[in-house]
């Protein structure tokens, strides 16, 4: 039977507890992001037009009480399309961040710990990194159907090597630490060694990296949609709203700029949160 041994002692240092009050920009970024997430999840509550509802009679109308941001070339409500577009962007951002970390973390741990595996795995990762991500994504999307899953895989694939490299470098430096060697000398199994002593070292930078991946995935998805290599136009995304609006850009810049604004706000907010997380969690990376 195990009994708790420590009583009335100061709690272990919690980094979060030591966080200073966040600066205004970070608080704003968090608010913007929360608002976007709320709008995406509860999109029907925020809009009163279906994003696909065509009204050819109402093409390219200006902003009005009915259509807050006006209508597009097919008479669809631009505001509704932008609200629904947040769903795709946020799903892609979150999904890519979570999956690339979930896949990259174990690969990085293994590469950092087993030297023989390392040489092979890192050659593969070097090769993957040499392929410009956008071209890889374009190739994957153009080879198969352009569904949400395909787009996510296509965006995720070039991000994984970044995660693997980060985790690997952390493991390589952590395994030199005397406390890791002490654990080896105490007969700790490889699995426990990785889980207890090596993996915790990688988590803080991974949270930061995950945030940046989220932002970059949203950006890439928008570019793919913009280039016509993304999700089909029946599902509104910020990228394909802009792609469709381009044709009328000189006539009605709002068709491009409103969605662009939403996209930019979203990515700036995530990057700002990433910077804040980095400063709070990992002072060593602070100066980047």
């Amino acid at each position: 039977m195990s009994k708790p041994v420590s009583l009335g002692l100061p709690a272990p240092r919690r980094r979060w507890a030591k966080l200073p009050r966040p600066p205004l920009a970070v608080a704003l970024a968090a608010l913007v992001l929360l608002a976007l997430i709320g709008m995406a999840v509860f999109a029907p509550w925020f809009t009163h037009h279906a994003p696909q509802a065509l009204a050819p009679a109402l093409r390219l109308k200006g902003p009005s009480a009915e259509f807050w941001l006006g209508t597009d070339a097919y008479g669809r409500d631009l505001y509704s399309r932008i609200v629904y577009g947040a769903r795709v962007s946020l799903t892609v951002g979150l999904g890519v961040a979570v999956f690339s970390v979930a896949i990259g973390l174990p690969l990085g741990l293994l590469a950092g710990y087993f030297r023989t595996l390392d040489a092979l795995l890192m050659r593969v990762m070097d090769g993957l990194m040499a392929v410009p991500g956008i071209l890889l994504a374009i190739a994957i999307v153009s080879l198969s159907s352009a569904g949400l899953a395909t787009v996510m895989v296509a965006i995720m694939l070039p991000e994984i090597p970044q995660v693997v490299r980060l985790v690997r470098s952390r493991v390589l430096s952590a395994r030199e630490e005397p406390y890791v060697e002490a654990a080896v000398l105490m007969g700790t199994s490889t699995f426990k060694l990785l889980a207890r002593h090596l993996m915790p070292n990688t988590l803080a930078p991974l949270i930061v990296q995950g945030t940046y991946i989220c932002a970059s995935a949203i950006l890439t998805e928008a570019i793919l949609s913009f280039l016509g290599a993304g999700i089909g136009t029946e599902t509104p995304t910020w990228g394909n709203i802009i792609a469709e609006g381009r044709l009328y850009f000189q006539l009605k810049p709002g068709l491009v700029l409103w969605a662009g604004l939403a996209l930019s706000l979203c990515i700036v907010s995530i990057n700002l949160l990433g910077d804040a997380a980095r400063d709070a969690l990992d002072p060593r990376m602070k100066k980047r």
Binding site: V131, A139, G260, R288
Partner: protein
């Protein structure tokens, strides 16, 4: 030094092999008949049979790979579906606008970002530093096309200073060339400027904390000598790295910028290829850009070896 160079060149070969293998597997493992993808929707059964023969689709996978690799090494990047010409010659025709755009953007980046980063690091914590840092977040967060359309709205539609789109070769005169490349180059460079300025600042701050900087100050050197002779020379390596690894970013930027400004370069070629499902062109572009990426990083590694006396074996 020579041995080091040879070793670095040799180390690039497996990377390119992995890239080739990857591109190869992408096509073979994707749903659908590779021959139909290569041949396009309009191919006749005879054409498809010829393509199958050429790819060796009846043979085992590894044999197919080496057959394909052999063709690549002989410059056979297969034929474009849109233009019915060889992929390589097609890429060659579109090279100039892209190269001009990329070079002007890179020059702009180095000229703007490095001094900004140096200033921000030197005056750390000042309003200048804060401004550079916050504007740089915007710079790499706002998508290239949004920046492009924003700049166009301002400088072309409102102020009428610059044209909305188009491209003129530098061989048609520097004036017209500069007039048309200004907005696209600025658009393309914006994300880069942000990244490089940040990296310059970070790298310089790292170096400014080093012992030898304290030594230099203890010698009584002036701030400028400390900053340029001692700090920047050591901070240069990570800055070069970010400029080099920014190449991938440059590619996506080029693709988008050329679309926004209607420039007939490689980026437009890619977009047209995507719309026409012209896989041979996409494949050729991937192989080519990966090769250039590996080459650029090779050159950067070698420049370290030349500039840093510690790397010399």
């Amino acid at each position: 030094m020579f041995a080091y160079f040879v070793r670095r060149v040799l180390a690039a070969i497996p990377v390119m092999l992995v890239v080739a293998l990857f591109v190869f597997l992408l096509l073979r493992l994707s749903p659908g008949d590779p021959a139909a993808i290569i041949g396009g929707d309009m191919a006749s059964p005879e054409q498809l049979a010829a393509i199958r023969q050429n790819l060796g689709l009846d043979r085992p996978l590894h044999v197919q790979f080496f057959v394909w690799l052999w063709q690549l090494l002989h410059g056979d990047f297969s034929t474009s579906l849109m233009a019915h010409t060889g992929v390589l010659s097609m890429i060659g025709q579109r090279l100039e606008p892209t190269l001009s755009l990329a070079l002007v953007a890179t020059a702009l980046t180095v000229l703007v970002a490095v001094p900004l980063g140096v200033l921000a690091a030197w005056r750390r914590g000042s309003w200048l530093d804060h401004t550079v840092m916050s504007v740089s977040v915007l710079g790499f967060s706002v998508p290239v096309f949004v920046i492009g359309y924003g700049l166009t709205t301002l400088f072309a539609l409102q102020l009428h200073w610059l044209p909305v789109q188009g491209f003129k070769s530098i061989f048609d005169g520097v004036g017209p060339f500069a007039y048309r490349i200004a907005l696209p180059a600025l658009t393309l460079a914006s994300a880069h400027i942000a990244l490089v300025a940040r990296m310059t600042r970070a790298s310089l701050l790292d170096v400014l904390g080093e012992d030898y900087i304290r030594t230099a100050r203890a010698k009584g050197l002036g701030e400028l000598a400390v900053l340029f002779r001692h700090a920047l020379r050591n901070a240069w390596v990570p800055i070069l790295t970010v400029i080099g690894s920014g190449f991938a970013l440059m590619i996506s930027g080029v693709v988008v910028t050329e679309s926004v400004f209607n420039i007939p370069g490689l980026g437009r070629l890619i977009v047209d290829a995507v719309l026409a499902r012209d896989y041979p062109v996409i494949q050729g572009m991937i192989l080519l850009t990966s090769g250039v990426y590996v080459l650029i990083n090779l050159l950067i590694d070698m420049s370290y070896a030349i500039s840093d006396p510690r790397i010399r074996y």
